[in-house]
Symmetry: C2
Subunit: 407 residues, 2 copies
């Protein structure tokens, strides 16, 4: 599914956040979950230029406040500590002081300045962190036990698989590596969701350019996925660049800037798609490509509306080419369109052309929907706006997982 | 569950659209469904002042165009013909001419002017109406076979029960009756959904006042329910007032105007709640009351966001008092709020007060959620805006019904 190469990019087998030069990562069990790993860490040998994007939810969890505080103070991170099993969200003043304490514990343990440490949490909302377990866990971290696989496992909740990759490119004759790991898998919706994304790179880049790149790319990748329309209190993507590749400092003026952007986009998009594909209970990855919209913003809204429609999602689960639900979702997106110009295809099977159903074969369409990757193409023929959104089907297991998440 | 009386209103046992004086209604099987009733009709002995509200979906189905045409032409209806099993939506020019033909067939059969007939359809999208069956069905309608129960059955799709009621009130010493029937039950979301609502009354009222009343009341009732966030192509509420009660003409200046509004609101709200409660696969009615919002518009948005959250809906299905999901939904509603002022209760059990979890009993909250009617109360303590929204839980059966709707 993932290409070995995409033009200038080289795919690294089993790559992750520990792949770029100078990065280590690991994970262990500290007791927040019954027996799975639940405490992860990333460490860079050098202070790394850092930026992050956070949930738009009005109830931002305590760790987000702490990570923002660290990044605002010099735009550098050298370590990240993250727990799963408890979101430390809606936990009031105590939750906030616990998040600060978690930062200090890790900073002290690995001899960093507190301002160089980010904190992330994911799991159940509204329960105070058991700080004794967090403390014991942090105390037992050993940087020499670096193992990205353990990090990837320590950050997941209801995910059925870990999500990670790394790519390499040449910049100024140096090999630059970008690695990433992420967790989903419910409460995933545009504008960040209970998703945590970690991207590391040994690129040498200035803070403003790094920040610009992450925000631009997040809007086309992580913010274009939806599992259930719920935007979490904890979503964060954090990006660290430690400069160990020793290329000339990257910025928009650098001739290889597009190469770096291509690499960062590829890593972000792959992580976003892995999150969508592993949505709670999902059996399929659904990609919605919208073209011909008034503008890109409108195309984004339409693609997200389709991929977020419960009726579209259940039809895809049932391999039912009920395109009326797709057209219906386009119609209630609230975006400007001319119904008589709209065309819809499932993969390469045109099912609706300029406002009228085609004489497509229902059996052929049904067979297409049996694939694990379903692409819905919508052309509004009314402008140059385009966008792609990703999601998944809605299954019995989504209900099962979420009807009994805490019990 | 439904009170026998609500102050000035008297509840009519087994009431429906045929209860007000001068109205008849019925239903029969014409072959759009395998064997259930699928063609319904309403007939008034006198031309009735009429108004309607329609879906906001950009793809409005053909029958909506026809009904609008009838109402715009003099604001009178004397008959309505409605089929289930086929939405006649996204069916192009042929669909539109079929909808006009359906109007003419019924008008001719019961000797009405075409402009006095409304047409409604619900069912699968994108399939042409089998006009031979519609024609045969209409030809076999007999006004003397009036039977509201058959009408209620003929309009439903995946509904598990028919939805109807009637109330009476005294106006100018005359008994005025308002009756209603509706169908749900998926693709239900604010701003009308695949829901059809039919309200009849023998009140004497002017067209402008009737139109004003329906629009105001719909915004607080039918537009405040959600099942799955999908807004259909076919939603319509049609209201007919034939004046047979012989009260003095109602308008905002009439001293009994509030009584009429109370009756119309009651009928609309009860139908809306019946639709929400009978959402596809639902086992519970969920009511979300928001107070203390900046204004009513903001309260509406927040209440709809909560009642529409898949994670809240699955938690309620699983009787899991996972209030974090409610708080999270408030947070991503996009509405202005101060997280430190927000309080949440399940029924009378306060679970979150001014931004902090209370020490409520999890067992007690779980027992509360086992009821068939669940009320979530949210106070933002930040203004005087308030609103109530209704929805249902999200269950395995929702997925089952929608993964195989057409097969």
């Amino acid at each position: 599914m993932i290409p070995e190469k995409t033009e200038a990019l080289k795919y690294v087998n089993e790559g992750s956040v520990g792949t770029p030069k100078g990065f280590q990562s690991g994970g262990l069990h500290c007791g927040l979950k019954y027996k799975n790993l639940d405490l992860g860490w990333i460490y860079s040998e050098y202070p790394a230029v850092a930026t992050a994007v956070f949930t738009t939810n009005a109830f931002q969890a305590a760790p987000l406040v702490v990570t923002k505080d660290s990044i605002q103070n010099g735009h550098l991170l050298q370590g990240v500590i993250v727990n799963s099993g408890n979101a430390n969200a809606c936990t009031g003043e105590k939750g906030l002081s616990d998040a600060y304490a978690m930062r200090k514990l890790f900073a002290d343990h690995v001899h960093l300045s507190e301002n160089h440490v980010g904190v992330l949490s994911t799991g159940v909302i509204g329960v105070q962190l058991p700080m004794d377990k967090i403390e014991q866990g942090i105390e037992s971290i050993k940087l020499e036990d670096s193992d990205a696989g353990s990090f990837e496992k320590a950050i997941i909740t209801t995910d059925t698989m870990t999500k990670h990759l790394a790519v390499q490119m040449e910049i100024d004759g140096k090999t630059v590596t970008i690695g990433g790991a992420a967790k989903g898998s419910g409460m995933i919706h545009p504008n960040m969701a209970t998703m945590l994304g970690f991207i590391t790179t040994d690129a040498n880049i200035d803070a403003a350019s790094l920040d610009f790149a992450l925000k631009e790319i997040t809007n086309q990748t992580f913010n274009m996925i939806t599992v259930d329309g719920d935007t979490s209190t904890n979503d964060t993507v954090v990006l660290m660049a430690n400069g160990a590749a020793q290329n000339k400092v990257l910025s928009k003026e650098h001739p290889e800037w597009p190469t770096f952007i291509k690499g960062l986009t590829y890593v972000s998009e792959q992580l976003a798609k892995k999150i969508a594909r592993d949505g709670e209970g999902a059996t399929k990855l659904v990609e919605v490509q919208v073209t011909g919209a008034k503008d890109d913003t409108s195309a984004k809204a339409i693609s997200k509306t389709i991929v977020g429609s419960s009726l579209v999602k259940t039809a895809i689960y049932g391999t039912d080419p009920n395109w009326g639900r797709i057209v219906c979702a386009i119609g209630y997106s609230g975006e400007p369109l001319d119904p008589s110009k709209v065309s819809v295809a499932l993969g390469d099977i045109s099912i609706f052309e300029k406002g009228t159903p085609t004489s497509y074969s229902d059996a052929e369409a049904k067979t297409y929907l049996e694939q694990e990757n379903v692409v819905i193409k919508v052309d509004l023929a009314d402008g140059t706006g385009k966008a792609t959104a990703w999601g998944c089907d809605l299954t019995y297991d989504y209900v099962k997982i979420n009807a009994s998440y805490r019990t």
